[in-house]
Amino acid sequence: MDSVEHYQAFFKTVEGTPLPWLETLRAPSRERFIAHGFPDTREEAWRYTPLRSLERARFTPSKEVHAIPSEPLDLDLMRDAYQVVFVDGHFSEAASCLEGLPKEVYLKPLSLALKAPGEHLAGLFENTETASCHRLEDFNRALFSEGLCLDIQPNYHLEKPIVVLHLAQQAHGLNTLQHRLRIAPGAHAHLIEVFIGHDDSPSLTTSMTYAEVAENSSLRHVKLQREGKASHHYSGLRLQLKRSGRYRGHLSSLGALWSRTEIHAQLGSSAECELEGLLLASGRQHQDVETRLDHCGTEALSRQTFRGIAHERGRGVFTGRIVVAPGADKTDAGMSLRNLLLSSEAEIDARPQLEIHADDVKCSHGVTVGQLDEEAVFTLQSRGISEAEARHMLTFAFANELIERIDPASARASIRDALKASLPGSDFGSEP
């Protein structure tokens, strides 16, 4: 049985299929996936990211009854936040906490929302482009059965962050989630997503997030991917920034054996989009980040700052495309990518791209690939620090410059800890 046939068997089991609008959404994706299967490296978008290991494995959706955390989840960053926990792709009511949610905020796991589908739910799913998808997005859409639905009323500022924790613990589990966010005009939300898993249980998590950030509203977002060492991870963010909408996101990809993060944003007039992220590829990890920012309106601003570290046999892949539509004058778009390549078997591939169809613009990108500054290593050594520790400190410092800007402090600490644990020479644990 080939991989397409394997997954085809699960298509029928997907919950919510009887809803006509949901079926309208799924059907084209399902057909495309059956027709084309998984992408391969002959496709430009997948040139540097082979899916062989993903295709060879046969993942299976877990049963909901088994979806109970095997140990208590107590992460610092979950304190003082609304908590939504998904275990093996299923909502875990016991581990979640949505107490004290204001009435202006509709926040529900999809499985519960589907039991009482109302205007919120349909509204969150309308206006979804179905004519074309980005390959694994099709796979996700054909299979998703769970996710987060968030709808915030106009002018409501939800100060307390929403922490969404994804735990993958079942070996060979297939976890397919789709999240829908709508931040109404003038509203504000703060979303923190964390993906964790067991190192010894290979799994595949695909997680698509569709977010509409309306006029003058704002969304802050932190995503930390630290899945288990044997897992596969695919996540996509599709962002609509309306006039003067603001998005600020930090997306770090530290875990998983194979990981791809896609961020596609459409910027309306005067919108602002700020993206930051870290890629860390060690062992035999493959870390791929792909961004595409479409400047559709005038006077929109975008800034992207990414840093990549590849060591051992890791491979870091970054693609960042800035597209400026005709007439999108006064666009100001900048992208910067800096990489550290630390071993002879590691690799960095980068494709920064500019596609400009308007003239009154200011666009730029910059990429560097290099090593630690040997002068700095020597300076530290001359102060009595071992070479290995010096390298660890400097590598950490390279990444930490981005982490320092993460809000809130609990998320910052969490990413910092994850980074420390994954860096070469992690036994040093030096404080910055």
Binding site: R351, L354, I356, V361, H365, T368, Q371
Partner: protein
């Protein structure tokens, strides 16, 4: 439309002076491509059997390949059977000296600013003049021979130096490299051949001037330059074609080989007819140019000023195989009206301590699309490899496009790479500043565009720098001070 916009338009709406047709009798093969055509070309050139075999093999490969579609180009499919693959001015006998060359041809080159008679020749530049499918004259042959340099048409070299041809032909760009390289290998009709022996510094600039004249004909030339150990050569290439409403195909291949401590500097001013304002006519320019730094401390430097052609698909590249070898790419690509250019370079670092520099300046105006596409690949073992890339795009008008698609692949942990790209329009502040100092808007634009391109122009040999700047309607800055 603001005053400055008008000036910009005036600047870029220059008349295409080389757009005339020379009326002469030609020996032209009927349109179509098949084995017979290839045999006919080989026969007309009286080639040895190894060449015919090589061509036929390339043709076989070509039949299995498909036209690349990854470039940012949009054009009507080319019907390869509607093109004639060979056209040459009719002569009873091959001219033995310049005096026997058809005066119409001499006149044509004179009109193009390329005098072939040695008494009025470009000082210090030897010229190989290629007209449609054949080389019509090569100047300064004797002076070069004294220095040990071989500079002749490709057809001649096949007869006089078959061993060099057999050794090097296709060794940098094999026919199987890509669709257009395979097509060229099958049907190429002439081109230039350069051989600089060990330790020789070529005493003058060498140049080839390519001219398309015949209608419905493709031009497929092939240039091969070999620089032996410790040798040096600077080579220039220019191209023009008449103005016609139909598109014409030009698919050339250039191979450069630099051995130990050898240096090849290859400069191009490409001014093929670009089509009219509505995009009618113009040359489809699909070119494969590659240099192989085979020896230690070898250096290959590409400089190009691309102003013509309706479609440009061209990526002059360097394979940095020898330790300490150096690759350079300096490019100005101007596209206007409905021109489309997808051009850039590849730098493949294999040897230790190899270095590459890429400076690309794209200028896009009218409804044109201008794309930089480049690849920097640093392979494992290319210790301390270095690359610096800078790609800047200047936009003139709201309807054009400027795109930048670099590919960076680094597999060596001692390598360092720096890549920067910017896209912007001419700044109002710069324009106003120049005007406040008394310059007209037109001069101000020229000056700013010239400044934008300066890093590239300064790499060109003097004669070409003048031509290149004139092409942009820019007066020569170097004449001051």
């Amino acid at each position: 439309m603001s005053a400055s916009q008008e000036q910009i338009d005036n600047l870029i709406h220059k008349e295409y002076k080389p757009g005339f047709v020379t009326d002469l009798e030609a020996d032209t093969l009927p349109p179509g491509l098949n084995e017979e055509v290839i045999r006919a070309i080989s026969q007309r050139k009286n080639e040895p059997p190894f060449m015919l075999a090589w061509r036929l093999k390339a043709y076989e490969q070509w039949l299995t390949m498909s036209e690349p579609d990854w470039a940012y180009l949009d054009y009507q499919a080319i019907d390869y059977n509607s093109i004639s693959y060979y056209s040459a001015p009719k002569v009873k006998e091959a001219p033995k000296s310049l005096d026997e060359v058809d005066p119409k041809l001499i006149e044509t080159y004179k009109k193009l600013g390329i005098p072939l008679h040695e008494q009025e020749r470009l000082a210090g530049v030897a010229v190989d003049a290629v007209f449609d499918s054949v080389s019509v004259a090569t100047t300064f042959k004797h002076k070069l021979k004294e220095a040990g340099v071989i500079f002749c048409s490709f057809s001649e070299a096949v007869h006089t130096h078959p061993e060099l041809i057999q050794q090097y032909l296709g060794s940098v760009v094999p026919p199987s490299d890509n669709f257009f390289a395979a097509l060229n290998a099958a049907v190429f009709s002439d081109g230039s051949f350069v051989f600089i022996p060990k330790g020789v510094r070529c005493p003058m600039e060498l140049s080839t001037y390519f001219r398309i004249n015949a209608a419905n004909t493709g031009q497929f030339e092939r240039t091969l330059i070999i620089a032996e150990d410790y040798s040096h050569v600077s080579y220039l290439e220019g191209c023009t074609a008449p103005m016609r409403d139909e598109n014409q195909l030009h698919a050339a291949v250039v191979e450069l080989i630099a051995l130990d401590h050898a240096e090849i500097k290859y400069s191009t001013v490409q001014n093929w007819y670009s089509g009219d304002e509505e995009g009618r006519g113009g040359i489809f320019n699909f070119v494969t140019k590659r240099g192989d730094c085979r020896g230690r401390h070898a250096k290959i430097s590409w400089t190009q000023v691309e102003t013509g052609s309706a479609i440009t698909w061209k990526y002059p590249s360097c394979i940095l195989r020898g330790d300490h070898s150096i690759g350079e790419f300096y490019s100005v690509a101007v596209s206007n009206h409905r021109q489309q250019a997808d051009t850039g370079t590849k730098m493949i670092h294999i040897g230790k301590n190899t270095k590459s520099t890429i400076i690309s300046k794209g200028i896009s105006a009218g409804r044109a699309e201008n794309t930089y596409r480049g690849q920097v690949k640093i392979l494992p073992g290319a210790l301390n490899a270095r690359n610096y890339t800078q790609c800047d795009s200047l936009l003139i008008g709201p309807k054009c496009g400027a795109h930048t698609f670099p590919y960076i692949e680094i597999k060596e942990p001692t390598a360092r790479l720096e890549h920067e790209a910017t896209t912007a329009k001419i700044s109002e502040d710069q324009l106003f500043f120049c005007q406040q100092r008394g310059l007209s808007a037109e001069d101000a634009v020229s000056m700013i565009v010239n400044g934008f391109c300066k890093q590239v122009f300064k790499e060109l040999p003097m004669e070409f720098a003048v031509e290149a700047q004139a092409l942009l309607g820019i007066s020569l800055e170097g004449s001051v001070g």
